[in-house]
């Protein structure tokens, strides 16, 4: 076997010109392949690890209250976190994320900014994360960690470029105006504690505050959470799966408020349910419910309107147009919740809601519910719990509204348009994975992978044509030699193998040289610095440099693939040569 190698290598040198020609073609092809792949992988590294995890998380949970995209709040944060921990094993980090548009005024210069909250020393920020953070936000003046400084008024960190447009320096104050989660315009003074140079233009636009500062400025209470971004260990493999699982876990329970109904000084235990006001739900109410007074639409639509059951009417003596007050215990804090409501209709017995129940139109229900989150839940017994079998059950609202899983960025945008149009009153909870929220960005990776695939195809044809032609010529030239070694007693398979070894060796040497060439090129290209501010593609650069991320696995795979293609292509010509009759081959003269 050894001497087959010796002969093969020497034969390669013997037909030097031909070997160099074919070898160069394969080498250049390999170099392009390795380069394209490393570039694509580099970009997806940047996309996945830097941009996507900062911009949308690998998996995200968003909340939209009152159909207002700027009102991103959920009032029982602990509950959501609990579900996340149960549904997403080994979640690396759960970041609270807020981005709010604001108008900023520096020293006689103004600009639009996005206030972004972050926690540079929060839970799950390990050494590696911290290192990455330091790399992504290069401190020029001041310290990033000072965002947590409580002795300074609203510490803020901004990019060098931003500081220039606002004409501000370290320790200067920037005044901002923005809308808080209650819809009120607020103003605040931000003190610059750090000026940095982000590795990515993408991260230069916002100004960064501690998440706690932003939450305070926007009026979040301690139990409220903004959007949550989840970082997971293996995003490509798991993001979609975990998002689906989390989505299933976030199915809302029926919203109930168990409280005290007071009429003329006397109290009755009642349960408040939310009655949805979309047309489908109203139709349900009309068909499933018998009214002893008025009809569904005018019973539900008026302000503070409630429908009570006939039995409750009997107990309390409440009649249409009577006013009553409700008070209930809150889940957080001592302050009780309550509302003043007006009876608009009485549901006749047999509607499926006989009992101590008050159906509140969803607008007023959620206003009360989210104002003071009730202690009661549907899982615990209360004055009334509806039978899930009854016709009208579907018209009752949950504690929140779970948006269906979107599959693309377009779906996501459609969903948010819908949220804004329909004016849903319940908080809309939306679970996304980076595959939907960043699908536009991911398409880029896909396109790059297609380029790599195209490289493989081109390379395949180069090898196919090159190898077949070269071998044909070689075999013709060496026909008498083949006859000789066959006559001496070399087996047919060994003759075939010697040609395969020859081709395989050439392909291997070429692929290795091509890989070396690719690495040299990558090194060269990554030395170039590009100006990032003007170029929208700057976001794909790291620190102004093209970022290549070749992987050992991919490179080995490509080399094996190329050698494989070459050997397979060589198989048939080589076998043909080996099968030549020795006598015929010896008679061959050129």
């Amino acid at each position: 076997m050894n001497f087959l190698f010796t002969i093969s290598i020497r034969n390669l040198f013997r037909q030097r010109r031909r070997s160099i020609l074919l070898g160069s073609a394969i080498a250049i092809g390999t170099a392009v392949l390795v380069l394209a792949n490393a570039f694509a992988h580099g970009i997806s590294e940047v996309l996945f690890n830097e941009i996507v995890s900062y911009v949308s998380g690998h998996v995200s949970v968003s909340f939209t209250k009152g159909g207002n995209a700027n009102n991103q709040v959920f009032h029982d944060g602990a509950r959501i976190r609990e579900i996340i921990n149960k549904r997403v094993p080994n979640v690396k980090r759960v970041d609270e994320a807020i981005g709010v548009f604001a108008r900023a005024i520096g020293n006689a210069k103004a600009d639009n900014v996005i206030l972004v909250g972050m926690d540079p020393s929060g839970d799950g920020v390990d050494e590696k994360e911290a290192e990455k953070l330091a790399k992504n936000f290069k401190e020029l003046e001041g310290h990033f960690a000072d965002l947590a400084d409580t002795t300074v008024e609203n510490p803020v960190c901004l990019a060098q470029e931003k500081a220039k447009t606002l004409n501000v320096k370290l320790h200067d104050v920037v005044r901002v105006r923005f809308t808080d989660i209650r819809g009120q315009t607020q103003a605040a003074r931000l003190t610059i504690v750090c000026i940095m140079k982000p590795s990515n233009v993408f991260m230069a636009a916002p100004v960064y505050l501690h998440i706690k500062t932003v939450k305070r400025l926007l009026g979040y209470s301690s139990n409220d959470v903004p959007q949550l971004y989840l970082s997971i260990e293996n995003p490509r493999k798991d993001a979609k799966r975990f998002a689906d699982s989390l989505h299933a876990g976030l199915n809302p329970p029926l919203a109930v408020i168990d409280g005290q109904l007071s009429v003329h000084g006397s109290g009755v235990e009642v349960t408040l349910l939310s009655l949805r006001t979309d047309s489908a739900s109203l139709a349900l109410v009309d068909s499933a419910m018998k009214f002893s007074a008025r009809t569904a639409a005018d019973s539900v639509n008026p302000k503070k309107a409630v429908i009570i059951s006939e039995s409750l009417s009997k107990i309390t003596g409440l009649q249409p147009d009577d006013t009553c007050t409700i008070s209930y215990e809150g889940k957080f804090g001592d302050e009780p919740g309550g509302a003043r409501l007006i009876v608009t209709a009485i549901a006749a017995a047999g509607s499926g809601i006989d009992g101590q129940v008050v159906l509140v139109n969803e607008r007023d229900f959620y206003k009360t519910f989210y104002d003071v989150w009730p202690k009661s839940t549907v899982a615990v017994n209360g004055p009334f719990r509806p039978d899930t079998e009854i016709g009208i059950y579907k018209a009752f609202g949950g504690e929140w509204l779970l948006a269906p899983r979107s599959r693309t960025t377009r779906d996501v945008m459609k969903l948010y348009r819908e949220i804004a149009q329909k004016g849903w009153k319940a908080i809309v909870v939306d679970v996304g994975s980076m595959y939907e929220t960043a699908s536009m960005v991911l398409n880029l990776e896909y396109a790059l992978n297609m380029i790599t695939a195209a490289c493989v195809m081109v390379l395949f044809f180069i090898i196919l044509i090159g190898v077949v032609n070269t071998l044909r010529m070689t075999i013709r030239e060496r026909t008498r030699e083949i006859g000789t070694i066959r006559a001496i007693g070399m087996q047919c398979v060994d003759v075939r193998n010697s040609f395969l070894i020859e081709t395989g060796l050439l392909a291997l040497i070429s692929a290795l040289s091509g890989t070396a060439l690719a690495f040299v090129t990558m090194f060269g290209l990554s030395q170039l610095t590009f100006k990032t501010d003007a170029n929208p593609l700057g976001m794909l650069l790291v620190d102004g440099h093209i970022f290549f991320a070749p992987t050992v696995l991919a490179v080995c795979f490509f080399i094996m693939l190329i050698v494989g293609i070459a050997v397979v292509t060589a198989y048939f010509p080589a076998r043909h040569a080996a099968k030549l009759s020795a006598a015929e081959a010896l008679r061959h003269f050129e």
């Binding site: 001497f3 010796t6 002969i7 020497r10 034969n11 013997r14 008498r480 030699e481 006859g483 000789t484 070694i485 066959r486 006559a487 001496i488 007693g489 070399m490 087996q491 047919c492 060994d494 009759s581 020795a582 006598a583 010896l586």
Partner: protein, 226 residues
């Protein structure tokens, strides 16, 4: 004892739509240790006969026994192995492997056999190179050797496996007469030392004096045995 026993051997070649009868019924026995010459004009069938005996071409009809084995019934693998172990070849055009030097060319058949150790192979090859008088040229490639030297390498290569028979198809045809005689002398010498059966073909009556026995062939038939 006869090392070769041929009965009723016919060999046809298809040439377009016609058939060439290259051998038309050859009966021949060759004794072990013989130094035999097959003589005949060009196109008489010498190469064809040697090829059939050498197991590199198959018979159309008849029986051919080499070293007691009927070779017309063997498959490719067996017949290749038969060539490797029992037969040595010397060609008119020397047919050395151009990328191998003298030593490697001579070692080549032994490497194919995969029987001896590396050292034994080397020893055996060197011994033969010594015997054909090419000790100084052991590291030379064929292109650096003269025709006569190349044919000496070929002789060493043919003998290195200790074959029963060495077949030489017009071994001197590409050499000048002096070198040709040296080569035939060497073959004869080797025939004596190794007691290997030699069969060589020629169309040159001048070399017949070296032969112990002579077979005359014409138009695919043996016309005279002596």
């Amino acid at each position: 004892m006869d090392i070769i026993d041929i009965k009723g051997l016919k060999k046809n070649y298809a040439l377009g739509s016609t058939t060439v009868h290259a051998l038309r019924g050859v009966d021949l026995t060759i004794a072990k240790g013989d130094f035999m010459s097959i003589i005949g004009p060009s196109g008489s069938g010498k190469t064809t006969l040697l090829n059939v005996i050498g197991c590199i071409d198959n018979a159309t009809e008849g029986s051919v026994k080499v070293s007691g084995r009927e070779i017309t019934k063997l498959n490719d693998r067996e017949i290749t192995s038969m060539r490797l172990h029992h037969i040595g070849f010397i060609f008119q055009t020397f047919n050395l492997i151009p990328v191998l030097d003298t030593l490697e060319n001579v070692e080549f058949p032994l490497l194919l056999m995969r029987k001896l150790s590396k050292q034994d192979i080397r020893k055996r090859a060197e011994k033969l190179i010594e015997e054909v008088g090419l000790r100084e040229y052991i590291k030379h490639r064929p292109a650096e050797l003269s025709g006569g030297q190349r044919q000496r390498v070929a002789i060493a290569r043919a003998l290195v496996t200790n074959p029963d028979i060495v077949l030489a198809d017009e071994p001197t045809a590409n050499l000048d007469s002096v070198t040709g005689e040296q080569i035939l002398n060497l073959m004869k010498e080797m025939n004596r030392i190794e007691n290997t059966t030699f069969i060589f073909s020629t169309h040159d009556a001048n070399v017949l004096k070296y032969a112990r026995s002579v077979v005359k062939i014409r138009d695919g038939l043996i016309v005279k045995e002596a």
